[in-house]
């Protein structure tokens, strides 16, 4: 049963890529093509882009991704537990809850260390 489902998804994956690709290719050939340096310029408000678009970003982005990664890994562990929930004895449920509490501890730590705060130099202080 599952094998056929996945075979279908495999076929559908190819179709899902083709379906949007087709109109895009079609549009590419149907539209006019008169490029000129000004038209092809990168959009900017009145000026040429100053420097490269590669500006180093805030460290916060990285921290959010980091905290997310930890949560993601832990949550994937929790799904089999939730599926098996019906056949688990009470103490096994509490083992899962202990796991969740560890997750909560991670959240509390990240919160207290202000890893979840967003600072803007020009922003009025976040209201918390």
């Amino acid at each position: 049963m599952n094998g056929t489902q996945w075979a279908f998804i495999g076929v559908f994956f190819v179709l899902a890529l083709l379906f949007p690709a087709l109109p895009i290719v079609l549009g590419h050939f149907m539209g006019p093509r008169r490029p000129n340096p000004i038209k092809n310029d990168v959009y900017e408000c009145g000026l040429k882009t100053y420097g490269t678009p590669w500006v180093p970003f805030k460290v916060q982005f990285y921290l959010f991704a980091l905290v997310f990664l930890i949560f993601d890994v832990e949550l994937v562990f929790l799904y089999p537990w939730a599926v098996a929930y019906g056949v688990l004895p009470m103490f096994a449920v509490f083992e899962g809850i202990l796991f969740i509490l560890m997750l909560a501890a991670a959240l509390v730590y990240a919160w207290k260390r202000e890893a979840l705060d967003w600072y803007e130099p020009t922003m009025p202080e976040a209201t918390d």
Partner: protein, 182 residues
């Protein structure tokens, strides 16, 4: 038959993507090569009927780790402008060692009798439930399960400490300008 063909195709794509990931000087493209390799890996898991593992592979490796890598790349200065030598000058030696190890592994894998075994049978459709039971079973993997959570907590603490530099003051930026409204 179809599975063998698909395996060959995906393996080929994975090898090519891995080459992109290693040799491309553009870091973002190299990351995309890595993502393709990881995705191919997930497809291989599906072919092996390890569906849960395949989904975990995509969610964790592509959904979280690859994004973390992209963020890390974007944080560095002068990305995409790194035109230094891509090859270490001892690369022939590295090739010899890597090729030798790979060849030895291949040699032993071909000779390993376990490779000839046929699958034991249909995969239990309730294997996710079985996995869940095993994870919290005292006779099973409950200790690794709980230790994993502690390990991840430690990883988070360490990562925040490293990224934040052990700072206790509020924020890396100056707070608001003098006399702003509250």
């Amino acid at each position: 038959m179809v599975t063998t063909f698909l395996f060959g195709l995906i393996a080929l794509i994975m090898v090519l993507a891995a080459l992109v990931a290693v040799t491309n000087r553009n870091l973002v493209r190299a990351t995309m090569g890595l993502v393709l390799v990881l995705f191919g890996n997930a497809v291989l898991f599906v072919l092996l009927e390890a569906y849960f593992l395949a989904m975990a592979q995509i969610i964790i490796y592509i959904g979280a780790i690859a994004i973390l890598i992209v963020f890390a790349i974007m944080l560095t200065r002068h990305v995409g402008e790194d035109w230094g030598p891509a090859f270490h000058r001892a690369w022939p030696w590295a090739l010899v060692i890597a090729g030798g190890l790979g060849g030895a592994l291949l040699f032993w894998m071909v000779r390993w009798p376990g490779g000839q075994n046929t699958p034991a049978g249909q995969v239990d459709p309730n294997y996710v439930q079985a996995l869940g039971q095993a994870l919290v079973n005292p006779q099973g993997y409950v200790v690794p399960f709980e230790v994993a959570s502690v390990l991840l907590l430690a990883a988070l603490i360490g990562a925040i400490y490293v990224a934040w530099g052990g700072r206790r003051v509020k924020g890396p930026y100056p707070q608001r300008a003098e006399g702003g409204e509250r």
